[in-house]
């Protein structure tokens, strides 16, 4: 008995202490806990709660763009851009195939690198995000009300569009450039070792319509045959300028690993794009032949249409004084990043022992004073000492990219030594360093490339996972790490696998996008020429060997769902209209033997898939997206008869 009492006493004492602690220190679920250094608390977003940021990760060689929440690192969507998508049917459906058309034909899969948002006053405005295709050079626009690719534009006379899609302060231009110099003249057949005579570089300025977002190739600048690696638009005082890094100023064309690493310095290119635009408007650019595709999805039809262009405006620096300069920069610089004030131009000297920092205001002075070392093809080379303002010592091996926190700190990813170094924009001294797992490429700070960063999270986009996760064979997904940068020291919060190779990423406060996201496509606004907006208009029409099936989907049947009179050798288009008007009520469509794939149809949308029946028989089709309790019943049959059969065309749904 006495024993029992003691237990009671101890229990009540403990509970009393707990209560006291709660009163004194507050509830564990609230903010007090966040300061304890518990990483799990800081990335935990409770079920049903929303993340603070949308983050968009380039899919690298998957050609996609994946959408994540920060800080939870939950993936919301994988948007196909430069690749066919075996989930949505993007690039398989007749409506979306044209988005993958180029002057080289249909390209099913490309390599995407650098996403960038549309900007208003330098800040992401949540309207569109752009991303480049590196291999067959293109840029794409993704509409952030639907998270769908709506436009692609090919870059003529460009070999690898890597320094893209960096966007100017008010989305006047998207930058592009040739990564691999090639003969500028289209399809020119010359010996490769005539590189110095026949090869050229080019920079591209892609205009964006401020209302519609529609892109157009405004002009290109012809450049010496160097390699143009990365770009950035200026901001604030430097907003009228665009910056690019170069490598291979040696003009090597073989074994670049050795031959493009000979010189001590390559260049940062500074282009006054506003001046260039004036020159172009004055008529100083030449019109030259080109061949490139512009593919645009119709706003209400949902059908992408290709337009082929056959010329482009080309500006030669020889004809455009005061527009473009070279800033000598240590050994094969990679990233070129502009601090939030627009004053510092930070280059990632990937083979250099320092991080060189140029000053924009000193650059303008040097231009005024004509502090030129030489002039190459009409482009003055400024003296190194005239523009450089700092060299960050001891940055580790292989500094690549830099982002900023708005409090005077810069963060540079360092590839070879696999770390991130934090340094001061005042003293140019390293103040902190943290490991990356493993071999970091880009890094991204929330708003870290804007005039007004959120000093919250930093994502390191690393190249190899090795032992970080449960192993999945010789090839594993590329990882990313989430860091907290709000304090004096950088802190690692999370390590997670990603899709493809996310070269670069962008983040935006969720409220900039969230409330504008569409829940359905309004059926009343659907202007697809083959849409069925009333179930009674569902029908099958034959025109020679071409049969068009106008079909509706709703939970849980197709109209019509029995079709006869199709013959071997026909070309059958299934035009599927999802007549649902409820959020997220998608239907799919697949028919046995279809070589063109499947499609997924969003509510209110019309999608088309083509089918070439090659054998007689009965072909079931069904809804591939689990849509209701009677989803299994959402199916139908097509009867295929031989060539010349007299089975007449007929269709039904139930007894109608």
């Amino acid at each position: 008995m006495a024993h029992k009492t003691t237990i009671w006493k101890i229990t009540s004492l403990l509970l009393g202490l707990g209560l006291l602690a709660m009163i004194m220190y507050g509830c564990p679920s609230q903010t007090g806990m966040l300061d304890t250094g518990d990483a799990a608390q800081r990335v935990y977003v409770a079920p049903g709660e929303y993340d603070e940021y949308y983050a968009f990760f380039s899919g690298g060689y998957s050609g996609q763009l994946s959408v994540w929440g920060l800080p939870s690192a939950r993936m919301f969507r994988n948007i196909p851009v430069f690749s066919q998508d075996p989930e949505s049917g993007y690039g398989y459906s007749e409506e979306t195939k044209p988005l993958l058309m180029t002057s080289y034909g249909f390209i099913p899969w490309d390599d995407s690198h650098h996403p960038d948002f549309s900007h208003t006053d330098g800040m992401p405005d949540g309207r569109w995000i752009f991303i480049n295709a590196n291999n067959t050079p293109r840029v794409a626009r993704i509409d952030l009300t639907t998270f769908e690719t709506v436009e692609t534009l090919e870059l003529p006379n460009t070999g690898g569009n890597h320094a893209s899609t960096f966007v100017t302060e008010n989305t006047e231009y998207i930058l592009g450039a040739t990564r691999f110099s090639i003969p500028y003249e289209m399809d020119k057949d010359v010996p490769i070792d005539s590189y110095k005579e026949n090869f050229d570089g080019s920079l591209s300025f892609i205009a964006v319509d401020p209302e519609s977002g529609e892109m157009s190739m405004d002009f290109q600048i012809i450049m010496p045959p160097y390699h143009y690696d990365l770009g950035r638009a200026g901001k604030g005082p430097s907003a009228d300028w665009a910056f690019f890094t170069t490598y291979n100023t040696e003009q090597a064309h073989t074994l670049l690993e050795i031959n493009a690493s000979e010189f001590d310095k390559d260049y940062v290119v500074a282009v006054n794009w506003r001046k260039a635009q004036e020159y172009v408007r004055e008529g100083r650019a030449r019109t030259v032949p080109a061949n490139y595709y512009h593919n645009l999805k119709g706003k209400n039809t949902g059908i992408a249409v290709s337009n082929v262009h056959d010329e482009v405006l080309l500006l030669d620096p020889e004809d455009a004084p005061g527009m473009i300069y070279f800033l000598p920069t240590p050994k094969s610089p990679h990233g070129v990043d502009i601090d939030p004030t627009g004053e510092y131009i930070v280059a990632g000297g990937k083979l250099a022992t320092v991080i060189p920092v140029h000053s924009f205001s000193r650059m303008l002075e040097a231009i005024d004073n004509e502090a030129f070392e030489e002039v190459i093809n009409g482009i003055p080379v400024l003296e190194y000492e005239a523009t450089i303002i700092g060299e960050v010592e001891n940055p580790g091996l292989g500094p690549l990219h830099t982002e900023f926190d708005g409090d005077g700190n810069a963060y540079t990813s360092v590839y070879i030594s696999s770390e991130i170094v934090k340094w001061s924009l005042e003293t140019f001294e390293v103040t902190d360093r943290i490991d990356a797992y493993y071999s970091i490429g880009h890094l991204m700070i929330t708003g870290g490339d804007t005039p007004n960063p959120d000093r919250k999270y930093m994502v390191g986009l690393t190249k190899t996972a090795r032992d970080r996760f449960l192993p999945t064979g010789p090839k594993q997904l590329h990882p990313a790490q989430l860091y907290d940068i709000s304090g004096d020291r950088m802190e690692l919060l999370l390590d997670f696998p990603t899709i493809g190779e996310p070269h670069y990423a962008q983040a935006i406060r969720a409220d900039k996008i969230r409330d504008n996201v569409k829940q359905i496509y309004d059926l009343d606004e659907n202007q697809h020429p083959h849409a069925v907006k009333r179930p009674r208009d569902a029908r099958v029409v034959r025109d020679g060997d071409v049969v068009r099936v106008y079909m509706t989907n709703i939970r849980s049947h197709f109209t019509p769902d029995n079709i006869e009179g199709i013959r071997v050798g026909d070309t059958v288009y299934f035009h599927l209209t999802n007549i649902e008007q409820d959020w997220d009520m998608v239907h799919g469509f697949a028919i046995k033997g279809a070589n063109s794939g499947e499609v997924l149809i969003a509510p209110g949308e019309t999608k088309t898939i083509v089918w070439h029946p090659q054998r007689t028989g009965i072909f079931p089709f069904y809804c591939t997206a689990f849509c209701s309790a009677l989803h299994q019943e959402m199916q139908g049959y097509v009867r295929v008869s031989p060539v010349g059969s007299d089975v007449s065309l007929s269709w039904r749904t139930g007894d109608e």
């Binding site: 009671w8 509970l15 939970r555 007549i579 649902e580 008007q581 009520m585 209701s628 139930g654």
Partner: protein
């Protein structure tokens, strides 16, 4: 004494448990809360659960309104409904004679909850095995559909023809 300790303990435990609310201050609906809400008001039993919570004065049958309703019905409802016979869903030619306008409007505007919580909705689910989809019809359009159905019930004429 033990009784006193027990009561004190209970008090302390309940304080500890209730002292910490949800961080964002929002009450989350739990399954238990939904069960309690299964009790329907008399209005809800008669006129349905949804945005319409009191009798509407939709007035007499308005033929122009009924014509507009015919168009919406044709686009949004005919995938599943016929006037005089069962199709995917029940026949609707005489529904206005059985149900109040408010009931029909609530069913159109809030089909999921009507199926999950209303006895009539549950009965319909048992019979038709499918839940009526929400079709993004506005309240005004739902009134127009009611007039289209009232017109049919009164005259036998289908304004879509």
């Amino acid at each position: 004494m033990q009784q006193v300790i027990r009561i004190l303990l209970l008090l302390i435990i309940s304080l500890v448990y209730t002292g910490c609310g949800n961080g964002n201050g929002e009450e989350r609906e739990t399954a238990a809360a939904r069960d309690e809400a299964a009790e329907l008001t008399e209005f809800e039993l008669e006129h349905g659960i949804g945005p319409v919570t009191e009798r509407l004065d939709i007035g007499d049958l308005d033929v122009e309104r009924a014509r507009r309703g015919a168009d919406i019905f044709d686009r949004r409802c005919t995938a599943c409904h016929r006037m005089g016979r069962r199709f995917v869903g029940p026949p609707v030619g005489d529904v206005t004679e059985e149900r109040s306008p408010e009931f029909i409007i609530n069913f159109i505007l809030n089909p999921e909850e009507m199926t999950n919580r209303h006895p009539v909705g549950q009965e319909l689910l048992q019979e038709y095995m499918t839940i009526m989809p929400y079709q993004n019809v506005t309240k005004e359009q739902a009134i127009e559909i009611v007039d289209f159905l009232r017109y049919y019930a009164e005259t036998g004429e289908d304004l879509r023809d």
